[in-house]
Each structure stands twice: as C-alpha cells, then as structure tokens.
Amino acid sequence: MTVIARRLAGHLARGVVMILVVATISFFIVRSIPGDPVAANVQKLIEQGMAPEAAEQATRVLYGFQPKGTLWQQYVDYMGGLLTFDLGQSVTHAGAPVTDVLADAAKWTVLPVLAGTLLSFLVGIVMGVYAAIRRSGKLGDVLAISGSLLHGVPQYVLGLLLSAIFATLIPILPADGPVDILFEPGFNAGYIGSLVEHAVLPVATYALAAYGGWILAMKSSVVTVLGDDFILAAELRGMKRSIIFRYIARNAILPLFTILALSLGLLLGGAVFIERIFNYPGLGLLLIESITMRDYALMGGAFLLITMAIIVANIVADLFYSVIDPRVRSGEEVSA
C-alpha cells in the first residue's frame, strides 16, 4: 500500500504543478486576445438604435465586473481565486460563477463520453481479440485495416457522416440537441426516451471514433500475450479453454485500462466537434461559445477544467494500474 501512496503523492504533486502551469498559460493567452469587448458592445448597442452616450454607459455597467488592476495584480487574483475554486464570473452568462456554468455543461459532456467510450471499449475489445486470433486471415486484415481507418479518421468526419446519413438522408434519428424540446423535463418516459434517442448519434460517434483505437490496441496486446510463454504453458498443462481465455483477456486488457482512463480525459477535450455537430450543450460547445463571445473567464475556466480532467485521468489510470497489477503493487518497475 505504501507504494501506491507514494505514487499517489508523486502524481498529486506533479498534477498541482501542471494545473498551475496550465492556469498561468490560459491566463496569459486569454489576456492577450485582441478585441475590446467594451468598445464592441458600444457599437452593437448603437446599431440597435441606442444613443451613443447611453450605449457607452450601458456597456460600462454591463462590463463593470471586468478585470481591474495591473496584469500582475489580475494574475495574483486569478491564482488566488483558483485556490477556492473561484474561476471568476462569466460575462455571457450574466455574471454567473464560471464554476456553476461549467458544472452545468459538464453533464452533457461526461455522460455521452462515458457511454460512448465504454461501448466502444467493450465492442473494440471483443473485436480486437477476434482480430488477434484471425490475424493472418482475410477477416483479421479487414478488421485491422478498418480499425486503423476508424482510428485515423477524425471525430468530426464520423460525426458529420453519421449525422448526414441518419439525420438527413434517412431521417430516423435526431441530431438537433440533447432532447426533444416539447417534452416536459423530469422523470417521465417521453423525456427520458427523447434523451436517449438524441444521445444515439453522439454516443455512436464517440464510440465509432474510439472503437478503431481499441481494436488496434487490443489486437496488439492480445498478440503480445498470445506470444507469452505462460499461455502456451497453460495450454500444455491442459488448462480449460475458458480459463486460458481468461488469462489472455486479463493480461491483455490490463494495459488497456490505462488507456481507457486517459482517453476518457482526452475525450472531454475532444468533445468540441461532436458537441458542435450535434448541438450538445456540453463543455466543448461552451468553450467555442466562450471563445466567440470573448468570455475570458469562461474560456480560461473551460480550458482549465478540460486539462484538469486529463490530469485526474492520468492519476486515476496510474493508481488503477497499481491496484490491479501485482507487479506495480509491490513496487517493481513495469514498463507499460
């Protein structure tokens, strides 16, 4: 256990440094974005027919909670706020705390990502085993090439294709947001059904995009394990097929769990495309909106949250690994 504790401590220390660095980067990037939101808003109000003077005043009031003080002072404030999970207030969300806005959006990202990843993980692993067993045959080739292709193709291509096919050409599935607007939110069949129906395409996209990677990873992992002597040894000892299969599966999947945790983290960042295509109001969409609306605080917050997710995923992956792999547990270095 002490080994795990030690690893955890190391990871946490590194994670904190990482977060500080990312926070600093995002702070400075965000501050160097051109475009003065105040001046722009004045123009906008004037275009809407407000007298220039009034527009000026209205804008000043609106942006009253704009950053004050020198850049350094702002930086210190920002970092101080970070300690209390205070990421500032979102301009576009009427001064709501960024953390609240993010929390609201996060659920639309986390659930589909989770569902898609797990789905693809399960299917990919089964197919990966198959591809490994049939690796010298035609089927194995097809599985491997299609896996590479799916792995290679960017998410948005898959998303757009799925949407074009199943929502436009043969409109059998919705692609216009997270839920049908006419259903009363709450725990009722219609609403839940609609939620599920709307989740099909985004989840399928997440799944399809990740599936290729899983099949490839699982295939190579299984091939490696199949080549390991202990599998042949088990066979020669007359072990049951089912037991041998379990041996293969467990040893082959182990390294994949690490990737699983990491990919969950990464997908949060990659959700941008899928959310844009399927109009899912999650973190990715929030990030794009905050960028187009010049919402400094929100942009920095979303970016930081996504990075944080990855850092946490890293830590979880590693800890998970240490828990299930006895070699790591006892402090041996394993090159994974």
């Binding site: 001046a39 906008k44 009427a94 939110p185 909106e289």
Partner: protein, 588 residues
C-alpha cells in the same frame, strides 16, 4: 425548479389556452441561473411576455414616436417635444396582485438611469435626455426633456423603458438616489463622483435577482431549465381576457441548424428572423401549418470604403465598383430570403425611402450593373488596364481587400461573390475575415481595412439612418448638440470622406451637419434634408448599398391564429406584444 407537472396542450383560461412554443432569436443559450431581471443581458425577462415596457415602439417607417400601449395606456407629448405625460393602464396589476402605480414607473426610470438609457442618460450633454421626472398622481408621470440638446426621439427614449415593481426592486436604489442624480447633472468633482456612484449602482441593478418573478405582463416566469424557460399566464394582466396561451415555452438552442430543424418539424409556434438557405426555407414552408411572414427590417448593408486609402479616395473608383458589382447576384447568393437587392444607394432602406424622399428617389443614379460604365469610371479615375488586369495609376497592383467578421456567413458569402465578380472583370480581390464582430468593429474603426461591410439605414429615426454614413465613423461628432469634424484617422473617422460635398443640383453641403439637424427635426422638416443627404450619398458613394434586409418571421398556424400580416409594423416587435395586444387566438 423541476416539478412543473403541466403537460402539453393542457387547457388554460382566457382566449382558448394551450402551450405556445417559441425561441428568443437574440439569445442562444438560455441560462437557468440568470435572474428574471430585464437589464441583465442573460436575464430571464422576455420582452413582451414577462418583461414590460412603458410602451412598444412601432418602428414606423418615418415617425419614431409611434407606439403600441404597454404599461402606459396612453401619453401626451408636448408639441415641441419638451415633455411627455404618461398615463399608466388604469387596471394594471402586478402578478402578485398589487396595482401598477406611477411610483413603479418612477423607480424604473431611476433604475434606467443607472444602467444607461437613451432618455435617461447621465452623460452631460447627451441628446434627448430627460431633465425631470414628476409623479403627477397615482397613475400619471410627467417627464420633461433637457432642451439644451433636444431630440425628436425624446418620447421614444422615455417610453422605450422597462417597468418593474417598486415593492420588489425598491431596495436596489438608495434613499438619496434622486439627490445624487441631481448632483450628477452639475459640473465639477461632486458631479463626477455622483456619476461614478450611479454607474456602480448599475452593476447592482444588473445583478439583482428578484426572489420571484413579479410581472405586469401577460405571463410570469415559472421556471427555467437548461433546455427551456416556462412562463405561465398572469391572470392579473390588464388584458388577460384576450391572452390566448396558458403557457409559453422559450426553447434553448445553440445553433441555427437546430432552429431549422425545429421549424421544419413544426415544433415552434413562432420564431423571429433567422437566416436559412433556400432549401431549408422550402423545407420549413412544407411543414404542416408553417407560415412565413415578411416585413420591413430597418437595416441595410453596404460596402464601405476607407477613403484615406488609395484608390478609394477617388469617387470614380467607388462609382466604378458600384457599376461593376451586380447587386442582384450578390443578394441571390448571400441573402436570398433575408434581403432584397438595393435599388440604388440612397442611405435609406428602400421601403421608407419612398416616404422620405418621394419622387427624388427615381432621379438618383441606380448604378445598374454595367461593365462599360465601370471601365469608363476606372479610366477616369486614372486606373490602368494591363493584360486584362486593372492596376493603380502608377502601375502598381490593385487588390480589393474586403473584410468581414468571422461567423457573418451572409457577408462572407457576399464578399466571396463580389470577389469572383471583380476578378472576372480584371479587378483582383480577396476576402479576409477577422476573429469576430468586436474585433472587426475595433479594427475597422482604427482604419485598418480598405473595404468592409457596414450596417446602415438603421431606421426609423432619420438621424439614426444617416449617422451611419455621416456620423462618428465619417468624422462628425455630435456632443451636446454641437457638431464638430475630426480629420480622417482621428476620433474614429475611418471612412475619411470629404467634409463638404458639392452635390449636383444642391450645391455644397456638409452632410454631417445636415445629419445632426435631423436629430431635432420633425418629420416634415426632415424630408428635404433627407433628400439632400440621399443625393449626396448617391453621388459621393461613401458606401455602396448592397441589399436591404427583410424581416422574416416564422409562424405556425396549427395551434394559434391571428398572426400579423406581411409588412405589419408589429413584425418589428416581439410576439409577446402580439399576444398581449390580444391578437393571437388559439385555433378552435
């Protein structure tokens, strides 16, 4: 705020009941955490539904001072625009049952001062600002104008303001607010300090969250989810008997595509204007009950020049371009359903143009697509054509670099089309986009672009129309009724046009000063000025007017009827106003 328990199409009281679904086109992304506060830009106060103004601006083609009644049942405007007396609806009540009083109006005006408003400005010398607010009796308020820099739009500035209940909002303003306001009108340090304090109050106002929505409108806010805002009928509304829907749902959306889908599925009873490509438009039209109403939208878009840059300083180059660009084609490609090609450049949207300048309109040069004329103009400007390409007089290459903000897809599409048209005719061109509209505005004002698109003809007030061409952006500033001119490149003057133009048949005019005169002029006084300005704009071409926007509204007649007709002035007001006026009826 989750248990509504109401189901679709449940019956309601009043004019037939039912659920009315709509979206707020100005606001993608509903915010569940935002307060029911009309001043808050994300606030859940929906114009015309649970957000009430004193009156609803008609946006009449020429008269800025026409309104539909709101909280104010009627009003008297002094002949010289020096004051307005407002009479509150006699049986108006807040949704909590308390009557709407003059005191509510006065408090709301106070709040408007803190957040900035055309009539209730604390900036010294602002045009059309109020001087005094007087509670005459329980239901009457009189507001007088500061006549040092009067504006014909004074009444509009006053009536176009929110009204909120004093018994909910009263605590937001300090007791000494009105004294402070008085101080702020003066000069010197005390006044500056008072203004600062009032501004600071503004932030408080913006952030204020009433514990419960108390509305004088036809609806009150029940709850907001991330997906929708639900409003229910306010039985205390003075015209409640004629309000048809029992509930209103504002749906959340994050992209236009979503609205297209809603509309083609017939899910929305109403949606304001959103751009849609023709095929999508057709699809929407095919939805059962789908109906499209079009009307005048007081905006046009033009291609504007920075005249401090060569060769755009030469009026012949601008005219040449005007002849060269086929506006019909541009409009067809860029905004087929949302705009009509501008007949000519007058600086005025073509609908009200007839009203303002009448027969003069036909005498303006239409700049019909004519390559020969364009080449003649270019030649006159001294440009040279070499190997089929136009170059500057000194032989250096000429490239028309047009700028547009990213995301303005109709502008970009138009520029792309113009680019192709220009290149076809030997004028090199390119399209450059800028990250977003704020940056665009900032950079265009800083004179960084040669050519850009510019919203113009912002009606209906004549001053507003021409200040887009002959206002700050072209060098003229109007402070406290005094007009001054900045040199090109200074004080936001990026158009850099001449201060005086010799207009054919009129003589030398200073268009900026003429424009400023419109501020205080009555409609009749304005007409000849407008004619002069139209001529000036047509001849001098600071911008080439490309298309006039069309106000396109989407409605669905499956559940509700009584929608406004095409070209109705109501189209420029939110559907909530149509409902509170009692027009919308549930389908039997």
């Amino acid at each position: 705020a989750c248990s509504g328990g109401t189901t679709n199409n449940s019956g309601g009281s009043g004019g037939g009941g039912g659920l009315f679904t709509t979206i707020d086109v100005a606001r993608p992304g509903l915010d569940a955490s935002a307060p029911a506060n009309p001043w808050n830009p994300k606030g859940n106060a929906f114009l015309g539904y649970n957000g009430m103004k004193l009156a609803w601006v008609k946006n009449h083609l020429t008269d800025p001072n026409q309104f539909y009644p709101g909280v104010a049942a009627n009003w008297d405007i002094a002949a010289d625009n020096s004051s307005i007396t407002i009479h509150v609806q006699p049986n108006a009540k807040w949704s909590d049952g308390k009557p709407v009083t003059a005191e509510d109006v006065r408090l709301s005006i106070g709040l408007a001062y803190t957040t900035g408003s055309t009539a209730f400005a604390i900036t010294p010398g602002a045009a059309g600002a109020a001087a005094e607010v007087q509670v005459v009796d329980d239901k009457t308020v009189k507001v007088t104008q500061d006549m040092t820099n009067p504006s014909a739009k004074f009444a509009r500035g006053v009536l176009d303001n929110w009204v909120v209940p004093a018994h909910v909002w009263g605590s937001v303003l300090p007791a000494d607010f009105w004294d402070k306001l008085k101080t702020s009108r003066g000069e010197g340090e005390a006044a500056d300090k008072a203004r600062e304090e009032i501004l600071a109050l503004g932030q408080k106002v913006l952030a204020f969250a009433p514990p419960k929505d108390v509305s004088a409108g036809p609806f009150t806010l029940e709850r907001v989810n991330p997906g929708e805002a639900l409003l229910v009928k306010n039985p205390n509304f003075y015209n409640a008997a004629n309000v048809a829907p029992a509930q209103v749902k504002f749906l959340n959306y994050s992209g236009n595509e979503q609205i297209w889908n809603y509309l083609s599925a017939g899910k929305l009873d109403h949606s304001g204007f959103i751009a849609a490509p023709p095929d999508v438009m057709n699809r929407i039209k095919q939805a059962p009950g789908s109906h499209i109403i079009t009307g005048f939208s007081p905006v046009a878009v033009g291609m504007a020049f920075n005249q401090s840059k060569k060769p755009y300083d030469n009026v012949h180059v601008r005219r040449g371009l005007a002849y060269l660009i086929d506006r019909a084609q541009v409009t067809k490609v860029a905004s087929p359903d949302g705009g009509t090609p501008a007949l000519t450049t007058s600086g005025i949207h073509q609908k009200p143009a007839q009203e303002w300048i009448g027969s003069e309109l036909s005498s303006l040069e239409p700049y019909n697509h004519d390559v020969a004329k364009a080449e003649a103009e270019f030649t006159e400007a001294g440009l040279k054509k070499q190997d089929g390409k136009w170059t500057l007089a000194d032989g250096s290459p000429w490239k028309v670099t047009m700028h547009a903000p990213a995301g303005f897809s109709d502008w970009i599409s138009a520029q792309e089309n113009i680019k192709s048209q220009l290149i076809d005719n030997g004028v090199d061109a390119e399209v450059v986009t800028v990250a977003d509209y704020p940056v665009y505005l900032e950079e265009i004002a800083a004179g960084k672009y040669d050519v850009g698109f510019w919203l113009m003809a912002l009606g209906p007030a004549p001053y507003d129309i021409y200040q887009r061409l002959y206002g700050t952006s072209n060098g003229w500033t109007n402070v406290a009724g005094k007009v001054s001119h900045n040199a090109p490149g200074k004080g936001g003057n990026w158009m850099g046009g001449a201060e005086e133009i010799d207009v054919e048949g009129v003589g030398k005019v200073n268009p900026g000063e003429l424009t400023a005169e419109l501020n205080a002029a009555s409609a009749e006084e304005a007409k000849p000025i407008m004619a002069k300005l139209a001529k000036a704009a047509n001849q001098d071409l600071p911008v080439i007017q490309l298309w006039d926007y069309v106000n396109t509204q989407f409605t669905n007649t499956s559940r509700f009827t009584g929608w406004p007709q095409n070209d109705s002035d109501l189209l420029r007001l939110p559907a909530g106003v149509w409902i509170q006026l009692g027009m919308i009826k549930a389908k039997q």
